[in-house]
């Protein structure tokens, strides 16, 4: 069923609204839900763009941790203005992503393998930069001097708070949706994801497009990292690492939305929203903490079963 995830989302909202009424259905709680899904969604959009041309990046979130170190140190240690810290973080993250691209495109190491090894590299790299600690306001720099800026500014803290983090998330989703769905470049990425050889033989510069996808991924990862950093008012050790699985889950659940059968931006948004609504609703219902993941997982499983189970469209029983 192509709309299983959307239906699951709808059902979840209705059930929680019936059971909890106003406390679930309030504007404030809608903001809660949107805010809680914002970071995961941003990372999931990055993963969507990588996965469109059949790429895979297990090191995405470890790289984001490095980005968050970069952002915090540019802003606090070097005292750069906010906009410049943001721009430089995005640029530097893209530069760091060149290593990933070098391994994948020049050395032709398969994506999974290369990024699996890069996870370790990023972990070490980030901590080497900070001297083994987190970067937060009021702490001396890695080389022991006083930071040029003593604290976060209002503006820097606003990035990670509603409404900004929500708007950033929506902007990322909208960008990825339009880019993948309505532009020639998006079409080329999907073609590569479908059959790389055929794409190359059709005159699509496959390496350039894989590179393009990588660069966009890096830029979005940097944005996600900045939001995480702002939200925690610090760049923490392994601060972004744990977003990998939730963001993959969002992409996976969203893959089937609308019968696309490929990673797509709206599906990813629906996937992330489903998880966020479940977490919020179940928390409000006071479900015991240790049963909550099981219920959440159960609903996801049901959504996936509904999406894939009844599909007998093609006669190939063996597929």
């Amino acid at each position: 069923m192509d709309w299983a995830a959307v239906i699951a989302l709808g059902v979840a909202v209705v059930v929680f609204a019936l059971l909890r009424g106003g406390s679930f259905l309030s504007a404030a709680n809608a903001v809660n839900i949107l805010r809680s899904m914002s970071i995961t969604t941003i990372f999931a959009i990055a993963a969507t763009i990588t996965m469109a041309p059949d790429g895979f990046d297990m090191s995405a979130c470890t790289l984001a941790t490095v980005s968050s170190f970069l952002f915090a140190s540019l802003f606090l240690w070097f005292g750069l203005p906010l906009w410049m810290s943001v721009v430089l973080t995005v640029v530097l993250t893209i530069v760091l992503y060149l290593l990933t691209m070098f391994l994948i495109l020049v050395c032709r190491v398969p994506d999974m393998l290369a990024t699996c090894a890069l996870m370790f590299v990023h972990q070490g790299l980030g901590l080497w930069w900070t001297g083994g600690g987190a970067v937060s306001a009021g702490m001396p720099t890695a080389w022991g001097t006083a930071p040029l800026r003593t604290g976060w500014t209002e503006g820097a803290l606003a990035i990670g708070a509603a409404p900004w983090c929500i708007l950033i998330m929506l902007a990322c989703v909208a960008f990825a949706f339009i880019f993948l769905q309505y532009t020639r470049h998006g079409r080329c990425l999907y073609a590569m994801g479908s059959n790389r050889t055929a794409a190359a033989y059709s005159g699509i510069p496959v390496k350039k497009y894989r590179f393009l996808a990588g660069m966009l991924t890096a830029a979005i990862l940097a944005v996600g990292a900045i939001v995480v950093c702002s939200r925690n008012s610090a760049a923490q050790i392994s601060g972004c690492d744990s977003y990998l699985m939730p963001s993959l889950a969002a992409v996976f659940v969203g893959r089937s939305v609308g019968g696309a059968e490929k990673p797509n931006a709206l599906g990813t948004l629906v996937g992330a929203a489903l998880v966020a609504v479940l977490e919020n609703g179940l928390t409000q219902m006071g479900v015991v903490y240790y049963v909550l993941p099981a219920v959440k997982g159960g609903v996801l499983v049901l959504a996936l079963v509904a999406a894939y189970g009844p599909r007998r469209r093609s006669a190939h029983v063996i597929s």
């Binding site: 679930f24 404030a28 809680s36 987190a134 009021g138 008012s233």
Partner: protein, 360 residues
């Protein structure tokens, strides 16, 4: 959620907090000590006629913030918050209290630092802590005085392999470092090397491997003792020591059930743990929260100073191998052996109605 029992004893006094909804929100993943925490908090809350729920956030700061915001939206009256990040907790809770002015909050192990890293307080919010610096010092005192009295008397520093990560990894670790540094500066100890796990998501196993590799390069006698800032890391150190057949004493901050079992084993190198009473911590927090809810702010007394405060610290105890080696000891019955400082509850904040309900 937990089982919502049928309110307090009907014969008892009316509880001013009866029917209030409270939640315990822990930043880390569940483990047996935090469960004991939660259990004692739950018993206290239910004893006072409140509804109690617990949430764990798997170590994710974002999830901690989300859960706190969700509970505020869901109409909880009071929140007992644990291990929030020192960098964001202040601004986050400040905004939250502006949005929900009636919400009562008590925090554990959560420092408030503003955007510039300055320590702050929040009106009406009580913070309580373990005495982390003292943890470190009590353990080192134990090492110097009990394990190497001769060396210490001779003015020779004790050679310590230090297990620590940071700075700024976790605020409690930083405070433990303060206590450690004091001993180092005093020349009582000498740090041979500092090690930490290379993989934080698999810290225990990683610590075991790192320790095994590190020990292999030292000759017997080059390391007098191992000091661990955290019992999870200590657990890995213990594996390396026992499986490698080393006879080097180790001490650690914090305690859990598996730790006690390891300390109690015959010939175990794990000599001591510094801890607070985990059965009391949850109760303490919940009592403070109830006092906030009933408006009895003047009854919130710091155990250490005996004065009314919004910054409280819990008393510390060192649990030694001798205490637990008798067998049959676990975290729930540790009070039977751990001495007076561990079982003393005279510092529990209370007021008349609370004493009545909880049977103080």
């Amino acid at each position: 959620a937990g089982t919502t029992q049928s309110g307090p004893d009907p014969a008892a006094v009316d509880s001013p907090v009866a029917g209030k909804k409270v939640a315990y929100i822990m930043q880390m993943a569940p483990s047996d000590i935090f469960q004991m925490w939660s259990q004692s908090a739950q018993e206290t809350a239910e004893g006072l006629g409140m509804e109690y729920d617990a949430f764990f956030c798997g170590g994710s700061d974002a999830q901690w913030q989300d859960t706190v915001a969700q509970c505020a939206a869901a109409g909880y009256d009071g929140l007992l918050l644990s291990h929030g990040g020192q960098n964001y907790a202040y601004s986050f809770l400040k905004d939250l209290l502006e949005q929900y002015p009636d919400l009562k909050i008590v925090t554990f192990d959560t420092q408030f630092k503003d955007g510039s890293g300055q320590t702050q307080t929040l009106e009406g919010v009580t913070q309580f802590f373990q005495q982390d610096a003292q943890f470190a010092q009590l353990l080192l005192e134990y090492v110097c005085q009990e394990l190497y009295p001769d060396k210490t008397a001779a003015g020779e520093p004790v050679n310590i392999l230090k297990v620590w990560v940071g700075p700024n990894f976790l605020s409690p670790f930083d405070r433990r470092q303060e206590g450690y540094a004091a001993y180092e500066e005093a020349g009582l100890i000498h740090t041979v090397e500092t090690i930490g796990p290379s993989d934080f998501s698999n810290a225990e196993a990683s610590m075991a491997d790192i320790t095994a590799a590190t020990l292999a390069k030292y000759q017997p006698g080059e390391i007098d003792a191992i000091w661990c800032c955290y019992d999870l890391y200590a657990s890995g150190v213990y594996t390396a020591l026992t499986q490698g057949g080393y006879d080097i004493p180790m001490v650690s901050v914090d305690i859990c059930n598996a730790d006690i079992e390891k300390m109690a084993r015959e010939g175990s190198p794990w000599k001591a743990c510094a801890t607070t009473n985990w059965n009391y911590n949850g109760e303490f927090g919940m009592r403070v929260l109830a006092l906030e809810l009933s408006g009895d702010y003047d009854a919130i007394i710091d155990p250490m100073t005996g004065e009314c405060a919004s910054w409280l610290e819990l008393p510390t105890t060192v649990v030694t191998q001798d205490m637990v080696s008798g067998g049959g000891i676990n975290v729930t019955n540790l009070d039977t052996v751990a001495g007076e400082s561990y079982t003393d509850r005279s510092w529990m904040p209370t007021v008349a109605w609370m004493a009545e309900l909880l049977g103080d």
